[in-house]
């Protein structure tokens, strides 16, 4: 059935694992390629799939740095111990773990190598294509505040910080809703 006008889709990524992030981005890209408008929502560790890779030294230095105001952050309610979360949450767009057979990252690297051999696009490539196709990225505000995420410097894409109300609006306007 030929469609008359562009539909819209909302994709929610909750999990920060490679085997869920890749299908999420592939579905988003498929819908965007068909001419649909795609909103991608990221919550908690799902944000890791669009995070910049940061070295251990960078993360260690950030442990002692004063937090700067960023969209969606409430600095007054921050805890000192909360700084441990961005330090330990090391996975990024470049290397997400697998949900099974991860073996401390070896499994993930192995799967990435196999995908490279087979000519399958990597997650970095999928994210870049998603940006080129005009996919909108949105992140849940409580998650930004809890994980101490600097959405302006820590992400490889431009993302909007929104709440569950905006998600409700997106979902009710969308023709397709997928959750990973």
């Amino acid at each position: 059935m030929p469609k008359t006008k562009a539909n819209s889709a909302t994709i929610l990524l909750v999990s920060g694992e490679l085997d869920k992030a890749i299908p999420a981005f592939e579905v988003a890209l498929a819908l965007a390629s068909m001419g649909d408008h795609v909103n991608m929502w990221f919550i908690f560790y799902g944000v890791n799939s669009i995070k910049k890779p940061r070295s251990l030294i960078y993360r260690f230095k950030k442990l002692f740095k004063k937090s700067e105001p960023a969209p969606g952050r409430v600095l007054e309610t921050d805890l000192l111990l909360q700084r441990v979360i961005p330090f330990l949450n090391s996975s990024s767009n470049a290397l997400l773990p697998l949900s099974q057979l991860n073996f401390l990252g070896i499994g993930s690297r192995f799967v990435k190598y196999i995908m490279h051999r087979k000519g399958a696009p990597s997650l970095e490539c999928l994210v870049k294509e998603a940006v080129n196709l005009g996919v909108t990225f949105k992140i849940c505000q409580p998650c930004v505040d809890t994980l101490m995420l600097d959405t302006e410097n820590d992400l490889i894409v431009k993302a909007e910080v929104s709440g569950v109300s905006s998600y409700a609006v997106d979902v009710s306007k969308s023709h397709y809703n997928v959750t990973f």
Binding site: G72, R73, P142, S162, G163, V164, S165, S166, V169
Partner: protein, 81 residues
């Protein structure tokens, strides 16, 4: 401007609690009444705007109150049921 019919203070609450409180307050008001909401969540204003867009209520005024606190007055409009 006349005072609103009801007031709701959601300062200190984090997403999605302001939305839930707002929904409860609006449910107890009749069509045409106004509600003043005070909140300091970073996405509070966006949340109220989204709520009003989905339920077709009218936003009368949005005033920053200093700090992060924002005061929003909305008019409840009858939804056809």
């Amino acid at each position: 401007m006349s005072e609103s019919d009801d007031e709701l203070d959601v300062c200190g609450m984090c997403c999605p609690m302001p939305l839930i409180s707002l929904s409860k307050s609006v449910g107890s008001l009749a069509s045409g009444m106004t509600l003043k909401i005070l909140g300091d969540d970073p996405i509070f204003e966006q949340g109220v705007r989204d709520f009003c867009e989905l339920n077709q209520h009218e936003i009368i005024s949005v005033k920053p109150q200093g700090g992060r606190v924002i005061e929003i007055i909305i008019r409840i409009l009858e939804s056809e049921e």
